[in-house]
Point group: C2
Chain length 208, copies 2
Amino acid sequence: MDNNISKQVISRLPRYLRYLGSLKDKNIERISSRELSGIMNVTASQIRQDLNQFGGFGQQGYGYNVEKLYDEISKIIGVDHIHNCIIIGAGNLGKAVAGYTEFERRGFIVQALFDNNENKIGNAVRGIKIYGMDSISDFIAQNDIDIAILTVPSAAAKDIAEKVASEGISAIWNFTNTDLDIDAECVVENVHLLDSLMTLSYNIEKNG
Amino acid sequence: MDNNISKQVISRLPRYLRYLGSLKDKNIERISSRELSGIMNVTASQIRQDLNQFGGFGQQGYGYNVEKLYDEISKIIGVDHIHNCIIIGAGNLGKAVAGYTEFERRGFIVQALFDNNENKIGNAVRGIKIYGMDSISDFIAQNDIDIAILTVPSAAAKDIAEKVASEGISAIWNFTNTDLDIDAECVVENVHLLDSLMTLSYNIEKNG
DNA sequence: TAGATTGTTAATCGATTAACAATC
DNA sequence: TAGATTGTTAATCGATTAACAATC
């Protein structure tokens, strides 16, 4: 597997998986890049180029086997196995993420929440317990945690991110409105909801 | 204002605003593209190119006035005025968005939530009432609603989106895991949290 | 075998970066 | 005026699309 796949290609992989999943649900066995391009509203060329960055998954004259391609992309993305997660910050957003069962269905299992509000500690969301911030380190070490989901106020983000990164977390899913620059050992994916909402606002202006 | 600004440029505007806001908070009056490029980790060239798509906001030999640039970008994005929003789907995510005060601070005011669960109707989140789905149309008409925030299950997304689009909503902020293709009158911005989480997962694989 | 469709190379298009004349 | 820094044009780089030979 090449190591220099562009961000654009990577960001399209989950979308391919989504559409292949729904083809699979409809018991469709094979699909050509042309058919798929019609459904997904992209060019067939792009689909073939994207997939061939990872290997030749198709067959001339036939197309792609839906199930096989689905499995291959799952493997590439890494959703063929479980990821243990913790949520740091048990506010509205943190609790919403904990309550959202869709992530779990994809193998992203939330094992605990953390907060420093005494009133929250000891409570649970969907059976997932809320612990005090001071027990994060031990929990990470003992429970094979991959991903820290950061839903704390922006001001606290940088310190906590650096702390968990140094404790061996492999990734941070950052919901705070702060750009984190953590060393290369720990990958960061930003959600930046406010940026997304502002992009929407710009498009309203333009359109109106 | 040109109408053919690329998506890439638009997606950078909120980030510029964020950094300019924090410079403003530090009472910094002027900044050059070079200084800003250092802080934001982009090229000075890109900053100047991006800004000049909208007009000449700087001054040779001086740079940019922080407050003025902040105001100009606010105007371009459309966060110089209020947007009335409704949230459709009062599950965990819908309630989390309603509870998140940061959007309100930026002028995105949530006026109501809607759900078809009888047990939820009549309740409130942070003082914002939950109504039945059947009252959406009237509420939109009577309250000058711009933006519908869609936090319903994926299966219900398409129908609801088309309904509110036809009733004059100008934008849909789509949290469901479905690609909506609505006619051009109504703009759509997707959040697709699961896609974001999968991108993170890919990067863990690559890194590990 | 003939038809279909991939994998892959080449052409095009667009975005980013570099350079510099204009000008405050 | 001299120095600094923009606005903008030109050069480069990368991503997307088109084309087609390979092959199932």
